[in-house]
């Protein structure tokens, strides 16, 4: 299936014609515990270009950035900057001292500190602890820096009073300043890892203006993004990764949007045959919410019926990832009404929702899914303590039996329920936790990225078990950015953008291409 279009290496052919290559990576490999994340990728960035790096989740682009930034050590491959080779491993600071500046998605700013304080932290980074900071001098330096990039910002403003785009720009200017200070030269590379996901559409142009300014200076930018239209708008060339492999580099001007989508997804994939589900329209919806306002979600309405799997997806930051927790009452409702099985729930809390037979499988297994240091038995028993008790006394024997049945039925390995949950692999943890929730006989199951970090085999098993539960009149909401999963699992898919449902796909309309198309075109509006 991975027949790539290496033949059409327009980018590669052009590479020889233009001169200076700033960053050149060839055959970079990285594996985690034997599982390859990068299978030998190439990336070439010229001086003075804006280069886009695209690919689906898990394609290896963030692994690459983390190797360059020194968070991970690369296994094999060649990296050179301005013709100077850098041996692997790169060390804890990665390429930071060689003229590469990194801005990560979380921006790395402290909300309660001012712009000036952030910048001063950097310029005094290597000074001794007793070094006296001259605030006047710092202020002058920072103001000059901001003017240089035409940024009109109050240096005494606390970061949390800035708009999202201002925060992003502070982070970028800060990274550039830091880089200039350490390497003391221009001709550098700025790496932006998903800088636009939290930005309102109208502010992205402001950010792009800043990037063009860098380009004009002769600096290069590597822009990692999910947003196809943004990348096509600003970049000179794009490189696409898929499943840890290099797919190709293209000149943006000569490439159509459709081409890039195909490069990202691979050759058109065969639609998995899926049994038709029986959606129960004769009984009340399992869960109905209307006018819901959350952190990102805006006046959203949704209905989940018995016997259906509803997928929600969108770009990061579109609000889809918030929906399961919101409907479970684990996040604050700003507005909205909710009925579960015909009963109105005025103030949804996890406790309240569980007593209405609604359960949540959160995306972050380590932080929210299960207590890693407690045993499998304990984790599988948590929702059942009231049920399996005689008076105050917990019936451990029955709980033990039930937990053994769950691990048996869901094929959780190793089969030792006295082992700490954290000692199980991600897939086995997820199977155990899903088993626990299915054991509570829920009528609604809210899933958030249910197969993240789960291997293919376990994934199949999980899908089968979920399908089985749905055919017994359960309803599932599945929020994910994994299109493949929705193709296999969902009866309908809601596409979110800016916290609103923008499009709905049904049955056979649900393909990877249709979803990618809908998501990227919605993101562009």
């Amino acid at each position: 299936m991975s027949s790539t279009d290496r033949s059409a290496t327009g980018g590669r052919a052009n590479r020889a014609s233009t001169g200076a290559e700033l960053l050149s990576i060839t055959g970079l490999k990285k594996a985690f515990a034997g599982v390859p994340a990068l299978r030998g990728v190439d990336l070439n960035i010229r001086a003075g270009e804006i280069h886009g790096l695209l690919g689906a989740n898990g394609c290896g682009k963030s692994t690459l950035i983390k190797i360059l930034a020194g968070f991970y050590t690369g296994d094999d491959g060649e990296i050179s900057i301005n013709g100077v080779e850098h041996k692997l491993p790169l060390g804890p600071r990665g390429l930071s001292d060689s003229g590469v500046a990194f801005v990560h998605q979380d921006l790395g700013l402290v909300p309660s500190l001012t712009v000036l304080e952030h910048m001063a932290l950097d310029s005094n980074g290597t000074a001794s602890e007793l070094h006296r900071i001259s605030w006047q001098q710092e202020r002058g330096r920072v103001e000059t820096l901001l003017t240089r990039f035409d940024l009109n910002l109050d240096v005494d403003a606390k970061v949390d009073t800035l708009s999202p785009v201002e925060k992003a720009m502070v982070a970028i200017v800060r990274a550039v300043a830091r880089q200039e200070q350490t390497s003391g030269q221009g001709g550098s590379l700025l790496v932006l890892d998903e800088p636009t996901v939290f930005l309102p559409r109208e502010e992205i142009d402001v950010l792009f203006a800043l990037l063009r300014k860098f380009k004009a200076q002769g600096d290069s930018v590597l822009l990692v993004s999910h947003d196809l239209d943004e990348v096509l708008e600003i970049t000179d060339r794009v490189t696409v990764f898929r499943d840890g492999s290099f797919v190709g580099t293209r000149n943006t001007a000569e490439t159509s949007r459709q081409d890039v989508v195909e490069m990202i997804l691979g050759s058109r994939d065969v639609h998995t045959a899926r049994q038709k589900s029986k959606v129960r329209t004769d009984i009340e919806p399992r869960l109905a919410a209307s006018g819901v306002d959350g952190e990102r979600v805006r006046s959203l309405s949704i209905e989940l019926r018995a016997g259906e799997v509803v997928g929600v997806t969108g770009l990061a930051g579109s609000g889809f990832e918030e929906l399961p927790e919101l409907l479970f009452g684990a996040r604050t409702w700003r507005a909205g009404t909710l009925t579960v099985n015909g009963k109105e729930v005025t103030l949804p809390t996890p406790h309240e929702m569980m007593s209405n037979q609604v359960v949540l499988v959160p995306s972050d297994r380590k932080a929210d899914g299960g207590a890693q240091e407690l045993t499998v038995l304990e984790n599988l028993s948590l929702p059942f303590f009231s049920q399996f008790a005689r008076g105050w006394r917990i019936k451990w024997k029955s709980l033990r039996k039930q937990s053994e049945q769950i691990t048996e039925r869901f094929n959780v390995k190793p089969k030792n329920i006295d082992l700490e949950l954290g000692k199980l692999s991600g897939g086995n943890q997820q199977k155990a936790l899903l088993g626990k929730w299915l054991q509570t006989k829920p009528t609604v199951m809210l899933l958030n990225e249910p197969t993240q970090g789960v291997d293919v085999g376990a994934r199949r098993e999980i899908f089968k078990l979920l399908r089985e539960a749905v055919s017994n009149d359960m309803a599932i909401l599945c929020a994910t950015s994994d299109y493949e999963q929705l193709v296999e699992l969902a009866d309908r898919v809601l596409i979110l953008a800016d916290g609103e449902v923008r499009e709905e796909l049904f049955g056979s309309e649900i393909t990877k291409e249709s979803m990618a198309e809908a998501i990227y075109s919605q993101g562009a509006k």
């Binding site: 684990a330 406790h351 932080a367 929210d368 240091e373 008790a389 917990i394 082992l419």
Partner: protein
């Protein structure tokens, strides 16, 4: 099978689940035994005597009660630094009401315990309502409570408490051991039961390990944290009552010396029996380990200050030990898994 890195791994894989699984769990118990044997030989005339045994077991029952209360919120991940002050307030309340106002001692004890419960409720309310670190809240509230203990006692030592109370605590020693020791052991069994056998105990464990998981599993986190802080304060007040019973007098400084030992015992206890978890029987072992060390050293002629050295040192060492023990057993389990 046996070519694994270290010996315990091979041992554990052959003994399977039962038997000497995780030998680290019994390290403290072993050290305690070694300590006892050492003192038996070092001070043979005074250490292994009924009188010394009786005084060791009886004198620190109060500390054990206090520590047992403390591990309840600790299980949920919350520190309660106000227990020593509640202890003092309770002691002076009983003494003052009984001696100065002539109330029946039973009523005095009831008032003291209710006051302790009230302090716990206040702690819990502030901690959960405003989402503040209990470390700070209980430090502040504890200081206020200690401040109240002084006017209650007129800043004096009140003695001459109704001997009816001491009769309950000290009368008829059973097997030559004061009865307050048995009260403490009964409380220990009760806490052990609550921890391992009730939903409350298990839910506290989840709150302490990962409160987000607990919340998403429908556990009423806020309410249970409040209840846990009420438990520790109420038990601290009970310890104060027992203290008055054993000494017959009280002053506002009574509890001051108990705070650090109680924490030392709680943390040291968490390195034994079930490693990494605050547990009552481990706490009991820890308390008497500390008492053995101190009384043994004092019998050998050490000065009073050896207490501070021993308690303080034990607390720090306990915390270091729990890290090391945990890392070791983790490593071994991984090796087992890879087999």
């Amino acid at each position: 099978m046996t070519n694994v890195t270290d010996k315990p791994a091979a041992m554990a894989s052959t003994t399977r689940r039962k038997g000497i699984r995780d030998p680290e769990r019994f390290a403290l118990l072993g050290v305690w035994v070694v300590l006892i044997v050492f003192f038996v030989f070092a001070v043979p005339n005074t250490f292994p005597t009924t009188a010394n045994l009786s005084s060791m077991l009886g004198s620190q029952a109060v500390l054990l009660i206090l520590a047992l209360g403390l591990i309840i919120p600790l299980r949920a991940g919350d520190y309660d630094l106000s227990v020593a002050s509640v202890f003092s307030l309770s002691a002076v309340t009983v003494a003052s009401l009984n001696v100065n106002l002539g109330w029946p001692v039973g009523w005095c004890a009831l008032v003291a315990v209710v006051a302790g419960f009230g302090v716990g409720a206040l702690n819990g309310f502030i901690v959960t309502k405003f989402d503040i670190d209990p470390f700070i809240v209980t430090l502040g509230v504890g200081t206020v409570v200690l401040g109240l203990a002084y006017p209650v006692s007129n800043s004096r030592t009140i003695s001459g408490v109704d001997p009816a109370l001491s009769d309950v605590m000290l009368a008829k020693p059973f097997l030559n051991i004061p009865v307050d020791f048995y009260y403490a052991v009964i409380l220990c069994a009760a806490v052990a039961y609550v921890f391992s056998r009730t939903a409350f105990g298990q839910r506290l464990l989840f709150i302490g390990q990962n409160s987000s998981v607990a919340r998403l599993n429908g556990v009423p986190v806020t309410r249970l944290r409040r209840v846990a802080l009420m438990c520790s304060s109420t038990i601290a007040a009970l310890a104060g009552v027992v203290y008055v019973g054993t000494t017959g007098s009280a002053d506002a400084g009574s509890g001051a010396g108990f705070l650090l030992p109680a924490f030392a015992a709680a943390f040291l206890g968490s390195t034994t029996l079930s490693v990494g978890r605050f547990n009552p029987w481990g706490t009991l072992i820890a308390v008497y380990f500390l008492v053995t060390g101190i009384s043994g050293l004092q019998l050998m002629g050490a000065q009073q200050y050896v207490q501070q050295l021993f308690y303080g040192g034990a607390l720090v060492i306990a915390v270091i030990l729990s890290k090391i023990v945990r890392a070791r057993s983790d490593k071994r389990r991984l090796a087992q898994l890879n087999n």
